[in-house]
Symmetry: C2
Subunit: 273 residues, 2 copies
Amino acid sequence: MHTHTIFVISDGTGITAETFGTAIMAQFESKPRIIRVPFVDSMDKVHQAVRQINHVAEVEKRKPIIFTTLVSQEMLEFLEANCKGKLFDMFGTFVRPLEVELGQKSLHRVGRFADISESKEYLERMEAINYTLAHDDGQTNTDLTGADVILVGVSRSGKTPTSLYLAMQFGLKVANYPLIPEDFDRKQLPPALVPFRAKLFGLTIDPNRLSAIRSERRPDSKYASLQNCRYEVAEAEAMMRRSGIEWLSSTTKSIEEIATTILQEVLPQHLGH
Amino acid sequence: MHTHTIFVISDGTGITAETFGTAIMAQFESKPRIIRVPFVDSMDKVHQAVRQINHVAEVEKRKPIIFTTLVSQEMLEFLEANCKGKLFDMFGTFVRPLEVELGQKSLHRVGRFADISESKEYLERMEAINYTLAHDDGQTNTDLTGADVILVGVSRSGKTPTSLYLAMQFGLKVANYPLIPEDFDRKQLPPALVPFRAKLFGLTIDPNRLSAIRSERRPDSKYASLQNCRYEVAEAEAMMRRSGIEWLSSTTKSIEEIATTILQEVLPQHLGH
């Protein structure tokens, strides 16, 4: 049962505000319910949002918390004056002191994504997603020259979600290759990857966790057995060590943490833009 | 050439703070350069960050702007006292008034993602990504009962990136199917989709833009010709209208906007959690 209701009121998608609000609320013991109200871009929609907030305030007999990124001063003032919630203005709180610091007035720009789909950055991101999908799980060896990074690791060590995240969030072209028993028998990297050693990054994983993940898919298989997982992980780590490939363990890391560590190690220029 | 340097200093990945800071800076004409400094979780790393900031301040002869989400009071105070930048404390600014509002002290929790990979939500998200990859581009008709939403639309209308985003961001299982000339000849939806009409959502796109996108891949092909794109889009829209499928145009929308609109129309319960 939730202890509070949090509303995220945005004239855009509100996704960034919700993620940020969730991170802030993680600093409290409370188990809040979060309701995102996107595309609040007319007075009519502000009225609707106020009704929704006030209904919850009445039912729960406590003030909801409102995180808002509304840019329109008129909408913001109406929301503040009429809603029975505690308002936190995520944008204005920083925009006003930044106006002083930068010596500029802010643009009061609503719906900043309106022309994003035309932008060069957007098209590059689409291209990165297509590249990454085509090069998932060792499907092809073509155009590895075009890859920004090539991930290697045993099956189910987290290569695919990490690759997709790097493509979607950072517009990077990522190929990924499984290290398989044949590679361990040969004690060598897949031959196609050898010319690209500088772009290789390894993922490893605790064998117990790997066995649990693989068992979800193929229970009671040799593939999922702890003994086999221990063997594959040990062989993969030995191969990465021999080949001088940097690697990290995905065991207790989120995708965002894995992706950020890869940027730090292999592509530090992508931490700035 | 950038007019300002913005530093994002975080004890975690700093990805959320960077996205939020970028949205705030979009309210100004300035073209800032953004440098993310992740995993600042020791006094030693704070010292390094201060040196990096002060170096930029000296070279650029103007104060960098610092967005920080550091949780440690000691690190925050050191940063504030020693860096030659203008500091914006993104967390503390909201956490302190929330302590009053909630009647609770905050937890001062650093690295909140530490156990995320063990959580049920995380495993569900992995499962959603796997499902969505397996059901990309009409690859299979199996287990459509398990889909949260099924996207349809002509080739290159934005189905794949939208599907992956819904899976990664919201943990939804998404299948997507291309509408192809054979479907238009039969004037009927792909038969496998008919039982799942309530889960279908359509994407359409301006024929001029579709032709431009397809031309990048296959220049001077019939597939990419404006005439063919006009025909396919008109047929796809007519089919969706006949079948009572809700749809939107992806032409000027970001992936985040498309995804949020789909949630509003098909899965409104996923706007709250």
